[in-house]
């Protein structure tokens, strides 16, 4: 009878056990300074993190333990919440997602008191702003991500189309190429694939459409909900028209990997995805190797501007750390020019320092970084900073609404008006 309660509690129980183990460890090693950092453990990530941390350890003589965390970011989010909620001093440095600073801010150290302002100035301003909560810099950008448009160079060339500058051009090119390819016997060909499953990925995609139409960023920096406007509705109407036309109906359940599956098997002309898809699409054995172009996402019409949702990971120091100054120094080292350069060359992690996009050695190793610079420069942050701990709920309400519009259950304008009301209620009159 109780097994059915297990799901919610297995996490709690697991973290209780983990915390206990950490506690025992920390008691045993209380005397000399010793840090613990939690960084992503997926493949090359853990090795890179370990190498960077070891280099700092050799310089400072402070031993650092690298704690591996769950790969799924939602699982990591839950684990971090529990560790921080228990005020545990066992992990000093956390690797956090770009939308978490608002939620975690009360538990994080203000890094601006440890890290020089001149150091911070090298970074993209959008990222620093995103990580500054109520005047406190709670995290340093470590590596970044932004939505980009992938296209099939060969197909565009074959049909004499240039890379699209606006979403309308993309719609037109996608339709022409898709229909021509289908008529030529390639029946599975799709015009455009993206992420429209009801999850955080759809929030990212839809924010790009709306922002590129000058329709706002859902909630503005003053906390005002800005969704109920004609330009946002026009953006969603255009996106809804894609389903069943240039995008397969199944896109309503696609995440990043499902859209990459379609694109990389050679069945789509355009794809919106994160830069990681570049390396995989050009890997040996990929059917479209060498035929992929990557560019900034299109503008929303002639009046619009290019937009890209900001992703990526940050490093933050826990308020419950016993050695906050040392931990902040580790963060400074790991986010420094030299270390980010090493990571960019070794595993094409996108740097958060602007100058690295002009660094010759980096560009030689990862030639498409130059094209990405614009995307990162114009990247738009999801409204996680102003909505704080309510962000996950705001995002869910948003992606459910967009999903309903895309699947034809409701029209964009009334759906956005209803969502606007809902979010104002959720925010207690935009007070958040």
């Amino acid at each position: 009878m109780t097994a059915m309660k297990g799901r919610g509690h297995s996490l709690l129980a697991a973290s209780v056990i983990m915390l206990w183990v950490f506690y025992c460890n920390s008691v045993a090693a209380a005397a000399p300074a010793r840090l613990a950092i939690s960084c992503g453990a997926l493949g090359v990530q853990l090795r890179l993190c370990q190498e960077g941390v070891e280099a700092w350890s050799r310089q400072t003589g402070t031993p650092v333990k690298v704690v591996a965390t769950p790969n799924s970011s939602t699982e990591r989010f839950a684990l971090y919440q529990q560790i921080l909620a228990s005020h545990s001093p066992d992990i000093d440095v956390f690797q956090i997602d770009v939308v978490w600073p608002g939620t975690f801010a009360p538990h994080l150290v203000d890094l601006s008191s440890y890290i020089d302002g001149r150091f911070t100035q090298q970074f993209f301003q959008t990222m620093i702003t995103n990580n500054t909560i109520d005047g406190a810099l709670v995290a340093m950008p470590w590596y970044t991500d932004a939505g980009v448009l992938f296209y099939r160079k060969d197909l565009l060339q074959k049909y004499g189309r240039s890379p699209p500058q606006t979403w309308q051009q993309l719609t037109e090119s996608a339709r022409i190429i898709q229909n021509a390819e289908r008529a030529a016997g390639n029946t599975r060909m799709q015009g455009f694939v993206f992420q429209a499953k009801g999850y955080e990925g759809l929030t990212c995609d839809a924010l790009e459409w709306i922002d590129s139409f000058n329709g706002g960023t859902l909630v503005n920096s003053a906390g005002k909900v800005t969704l109920d406007n004609a330009r946002a509705a026009a953006a969603l109407d255009l996106a809804a028209s894609w389903i069943g036309d240039i995008a397969p109906k199944g896109v309503l359940n696609y995440d990043e990997e499902a859209s990459r599956g379609v694109f990389q098997s050679g069945n789509a002309v355009f794809m919106r995805n994160w830069p990681y898809a570049w390396a995989l699409g050009n890997a040996e054995g990929s059917p479209i190797r060498g035929r992929i172009g990557v560019m900034a996402l299109p503008r929303g019409g002639d009046q619009g501007h290019p937009s890209a949702t900001l992703g990526g990971w940050q490093l933050a120091v826990s308020r419950y750390s016993r050695h906050p100054a040392l931990a902040a120094d580790l963060v400074r080292y790991l986010t420094s020019y030299a270390e980010q350069k090493r990571r960019a060359i070794a595993a094409s992690y996108n740097p958060t320092i602007k100058a690295l996009y002009q660094d010759q050695e980096v560009l030689a190793a990862v030639p498409f970084f130059g094209t990405l610079y614009d995307s990162f420069e114009h990247a738009v942050a999801r409204p996680s900073r102003v909505t704080g701990s309510k962000y996950a709920r705001v995002s869910a309400e948003f992606y459910y609404t967009v999903h309903d519009v895309l699947s034809g259950k409701s029209a964009a304008a009334p759906a956005l008006a209803a969502l606007q009301k809902k979010l104002i209620r959720l925010s207690r009159g935009e007070q958040w």
Partner: protein, 299 residues
């Protein structure tokens, strides 16, 4: 069980020792099952958040009354019940057929018995993702097969369309869990007394009559246990739904709803209230089922 007629010293000592032997298990159960359950129910009456559970305030039945008014909660209850009833029904029918086939004597039976368990042995997360790829509307093998034999003209977006999403999930569950059902029923079949079948053969009874008049009534206890087992399991379905369509409200099960509130939204109080209601709903199902089963047995 025979009621004790006299409380002799021996009986009392045996009872005492029985408690001593049971004590560690009871303690463990209380710790790992009872305590979290009580804690969850208690959290259901607070506005606790995952990030700061100490600041929880008692809010009475607010969470529950909001939950009962939330149409999405009821949608998730409905999805779960449809999923549980349809999938368990199909699994029982198919499982019974497979069990009957495997109960016959033929060469290679041992190997076949092991082979049908493969879907059950694959972790759900893996098989759900695998089926997700197979159901893909563009490069999925299912559309490809149905279209090449001419059953469909246009590809179907199996997991994306609201009409077929729950159906696809049910199909995957049937694929995965039928072997388990078959195994449970096969064990039941092998316990059946051979005499009835022998006398039926001597009397020349038709095999179908044998099935409905002998096998089914005799198998009923095993069948009942297997069904309740699967039903309880199906009512708390999480992994399959979550991997195949995430937080999609067209297919969201009760557990997915509770997890979203508890983990994604960090709303420990509300999520605990949802978990408590799931517990209550499953308990209700069990009680109703056992009562019906008992009434059926007594008749």
């Amino acid at each position: 069980m025979k009621p004790a007629t006299s409380h002799s010293r021996l009986t009392r000592r045996r009872v005492r020792w029985a408690w001593v032997f049971l004590a560690p298990m009871l303690l463990v159960l209380a710790l790992v099952a009872g305590w979290p359950l009580l804690k969850t129910i208690a959290y259901g009456f607070t506005d606790a958040s995952l990030i700061n559970p100490e600041a929880a305030q008692f809010v009475g039945v607010d969470n529950f009354s909001f939950l009962l008014q939330d149409p999405y909660w009821w949608a998730s209850v409905w999805n779960t019940v449809v999923f549980a009833v349809v999938s368990v029904f199909l699994e029982t029918v198919l499982g019974l057929i497979i069990a009957l086939a495997l109960n016959a004597q033929f060469r290679g039976r041992g190997g076949l018995r092991a082979a049908i368990l493969i879907p059950w042995a694959i972790p759900t997360v893996v098989s759900a993702q695998m089926w997700n790829w197979m159901f893909n509307d563009v490069f999925g093998v299912i559309n490809h097969m149905l279209m090449s034999v001419g059953l469909m003209q246009h590809p179907i977006a199996w997991t994306a369309s609201p009409d077929t999403a729950l159906l696809s999930i049910i199909l995957v569950d049937v694929w995965k869990t039928t072997p388990f059902m078959a195994l449970l029923l096969l064990a039941g079949l092998q316990m059946l007394p051979k005499e009835c079948y022998e006398s039926a053969r001597v009397d020349g009874v038709h095999p179908l009559t044998v099935f409905f008049r002998i096998t089914l009534p005799l198998l009923k206890p095993a069948l009942m246990v297997a069904i309740i087992f699967r039903l309880l399991d199906a009512l708390r379905v999480f992994d399959l739904v979550y991997v195949m369509s995430g937080n999609n409200r067209d297919t969201m099960s009760m557990s997915v709803y509770a997890r979203q509130q508890l983990i994604d939204f960090g709303d420990l109080g509300f999520g605990s209230a949802a978990s408590t209601l799931i517990f209550a709903i499953i308990a209700l199902f069990t009680v109703v089922y056992l009562t019906v089963a008992r009434v059926g047995r007594e008749q």
